[in-house]
Assembly symmetry: C2
Homo-oligomer: 345 residues x 2
Amino acid sequence: MDITVAVDAMGGDHGTHVTVPAVLRFLDQHPDVNVVLVGLPDAIEAELKAQRRQCGPRLRIHAASEVVTMDEAPQSALKNKKDSSMRVAINLVKSGEANACVSAGNTGALMATARFVLKTISGIERPAIAKMMPTRKGGETCVLDLGANVDCTAEHLMHFAIMGASLFAAVKDRSHPAVGLLNVGEEEMKGNGLVREAGELLRASQLNFVGNVEGDDLYSGEVDVVVCDGFTGNVALKTSEGLAKMLSDFLREEFFRNWWTRALAGLAWPVIGRFKKRVDPRRYNGASLLGLNGIVVKSHGGADSVAFYWALKQAVEEARAGVIQRIAEQVHHQLAVKTPLINAE
Amino acid sequence: MDITVAVDAMGGDHGTHVTVPAVLRFLDQHPDVNVVLVGLPDAIEAELKAQRRQCGPRLRIHAASEVVTMDEAPQSALKNKKDSSMRVAINLVKSGEANACVSAGNTGALMATARFVLKTISGIERPAIAKMMPTRKGGETCVLDLGANVDCTAEHLMHFAIMGASLFAAVKDRSHPAVGLLNVGEEEMKGNGLVREAGELLRASQLNFVGNVEGDDLYSGEVDVVVCDGFTGNVALKTSEGLAKMLSDFLREEFFRNWWTRALAGLAWPVIGRFKKRVDPRRYNGASLLGLNGIVVKSHGGADSVAFYWALKQAVEEARAGVIQRIAEQVHHQLAVKTPLINAE
């Protein structure tokens, strides 16, 4: 099946300078993918020209006259920028012209706009932000929510579990993924009121709920999905970024200490390079806004074109795996929602 | 000033096999420190003999007939094991025979027992667990609470801030340490209800409150103290442990891939060794139970003797810096508590 991705070409700290090169490389490597670049035509054309490329049957430009800035308030973007590249890209998903959209723009504005345009899946109150993280076992673990919902109820966590399990099952082709609830200990009575209540709901659910997990299980590979409120998830994610940055700084400092260590670094470069590649955060750049009637993938605002490429990949994989349909079915099945499934006519 | 430390010799996964060698090395390197080894005399004597050492003016044994197990319920330990090595070590702090105590035992039991025996400092409702973490700038940041209080009020976070700032000021000899509130964004309106309310209290306080910080600031060195509820802090700490373990596994795998990478690892060993030493978690092993009328330092249960050594160091530094007095003064000053200061007569 050919997949069409709408790309907010203007989003992120570097706009078209990052999005356009990433799209071009992605198209070269994925012959069954089409891309619609959404944004200011002049800026997009200029970048295409700089890359000595042009539009064609698999790459077209869709004009949008406005750009949401990185620090704009979500409600202001939603109200005042109806022709923003972000909004128009999401509109293309809504209208069915695209199977998914990708933006490196302002997270709050993207979530507010996507929610307004696409609406949530029947039965889901709150969309969540989910991300695959690398694990010690070599696989990946899906973690959510990473910051969309800082105040959650136990029901919200239950919904996140259903959505995360559906995403993992669809994209990784795994039936009954193992779901863990992020807590401060493994015993059932551990944790604050929210997680104890969520634990009860999850134990009573039809999910493959394996119980409480702790922070180190984000990277242990013991579970496929880790569920948490958006406050905790955001802190865990950013703590990881901070630690990784510190370790990387220290390693570089030690290898650049003097001529001898620099020589060693040169010799060991292939080894260090392979290590860096395995844990390169750019490979885990695509965060999914789950719970909407359409695929929306958020790239880090500061992403370079390699990182943006991986966000495109995440969007295409979700579209190909029919993630929205899977989530809607699971929500319907697990929550027994009595409303028609989307795309089910 | 000579410092006497009471050591729960039986605590932790390895008991005397770890605590006794750590104490012996610590005494050799710190001539103004005395240690009381608390526990089963036979086990302690056996380990001393194995180390070809004996008691003397700076090292004595204080018998305790019971041992709190690592999975024992805190209330059961408190109620049924009144002659445990953990409890007797804390009693020695209470009676003034020791200036601080260190235990690698069960955290819940240690907190419950310490709280029961020592009581909290006037004005403090909930003791917290604090730890120094390494930072990119080369210094340290004190983070609390790391798990003692999974449900907190804004007032508790305010108390943690006062305690953390007092600890940092005392041990690092820094006046007005910069305090940050762990949140999901820097803007004042960010976060859940708890942190928004705590932010207001902190802004109105006399602390050097610099505002919200994010997860990566645990390692950025931008602030001296990071305050959070125990649920979030515990997740952040364990997430860090999990990520560090994954990265260390991956680095080892790459360097042990074949004979050539092994040879490189051999050559680069001094460089890698220096890197590992800088981030060795054993150097950050001592967690402080703050808010009690006495110094209690918790070592990781699985600590080896190097890690336990660092917990002893933390306890001695706190005793030398008069941390309890500092906290009591600051609580009194900042919360205007109208009760007599401890040790102030």
